[in-house]
Point group: C2
């Protein structure tokens, strides 16, 4: 049976401008792989209302689960929650349960729950909150979409809150053989082996740095014995 | 006048599985920003024929320039060139000019130009070659799409080959103010300032690590004097 599918939508002017390097995508990819959920596509769009709505609607219709990251803070450029509501065609407003979380948190801190902070309690109708043990302001789940913060420590905490609610698949096992030969020498025998083991995926990821070159051959599959067998044949083929 | 727009398509099972962390997107984003080209969207898809074709057709119709990375090597999982040809509805085969480059290179190396390596000379009809000073096997440009290798050193060399052919815009200048306050305190005055300077973009990028929190406020625009003026007001607003 095929594994559940997922996609990610990163709302990130700061990534598209080259200011910061993505960390959340890499983290989510690793967590989903461990859980046997196939991350099939990632889109990164800017803080543009229509771009966010269009991408979200495309992804949520095509994949089983969608995770978004970024744009749910208190500042004027945090427009993700409103875009998600628009994509689902539902109302959005400050919600009592989210406001209560924030009120309690800022009261403990002796900080004012001002208008800006209250924006973080804006939750689309029908959504359930995602726990944020780091900085309290919640994410939310609506339909198959999980809306999370962009700050990596908060994103990771929200992923930890959501993962137990997702149905995983057969975890994908992988083994890697590092071969110091040109891919052109590897390609023929590798292609034949990939045909023989058509229940596995064979990837060849070339590297070239400081005059040293070769490829990491990665064998992936859900049946450990089959991956082992393929690796044994690979090692024999490409014994140095 | 608005800057030229661009998008990137990363063909990358290895990124979606969490095996490797993207480097090419971050590099391209930085280069485009310096040149005044707005990178508006990035999509990462797996080594799946239809996914690559669909994403490429969507992006090339929506944006001025598209750069792809990955999947143009000699192994069985390198299917990008064939997908690009299919997306454009043109024929693809080994082409004499690309074959000549490879033949000369492998002859110098004393390496056989075998069937696998010859795959790297498959170029869609109507494309022009992109120079690859690192490992010779060329990328190619067809229409507004530039097809490049995934290995970062080769990708960067191909970007350097293509950048001089692109029309840039007004380079985006940016300045950053690091503020050690919660975004909730910043948001109100920041939003008002952003309204006053509506020719500039104001981004607030919160951080939270080891108990220290705050936000980097980034002001971007093409008019240096305006960016300076906004930064001066920002600094006064948030003087510690």
């Amino acid at each position: 049976m095929a594994n559940p599918t997922a996609a990610m939508l990163v709302i990130g002017d700061e990534i598209l401008s080259g200011r910061t390097r993505d960390a959340n995508m890499h983290y989510l990819a690793g967590e989903f792989t461990k859980l046997g959920i196939d991350l099939r596509e990632v889109r990164i769009v800017s803080d543009d209302r229509q771009a966010i709505i269009d991408a979200l609607n495309a992804l949520r219709q095509q994949y089983g689960t969608v995770v978004t990251s970024g744009g749910i803070g208190p500042t004027h450029d945090d427009i993700t929650a409103d875009c998600v509501a628009a994509a689902f065609g539902v109302n959005i407003d400050v919600r009592d349960d989210a406001r209560a979380l924030l009120a309690a948190h800022y009261e403990r801190q002796g900080t004012e729950l001002n208008t800006a902070r209250l924006r973080m309690a804006r939750i689309p109708d029908g959504a359930t909150l995602i726990d944020n043990p780091v900085s309290v302001a919640p994410g939310f789940t609506i339909g198959n979409v999980h809306v999370m913060a962009g700050v990596p420590s908060v994103f990771q905490a929200m992923v930890a809150s959501v993962l137990p609610t997702l149905t995983g698949g057969a975890p994908l096992l992988s083994q890697t053989l590092r071969v110091y030969r040109g891919e052109g020498d590897i390609a023929g025998p590798l292609g034949e082996l990939a045909n023989t083991y058509d229940d596995l995926q064979f990837g060849s990821y070339p590297f070239q740095k400081d005059g040293v070159y070769g490829a990491n051959i990665v064998v992936r599959g859900t049946d450990g014995a089959r991956v082992d067998a393929a690796m044994a044949e690979l090692s024999a083929l490409f014994a140095q």
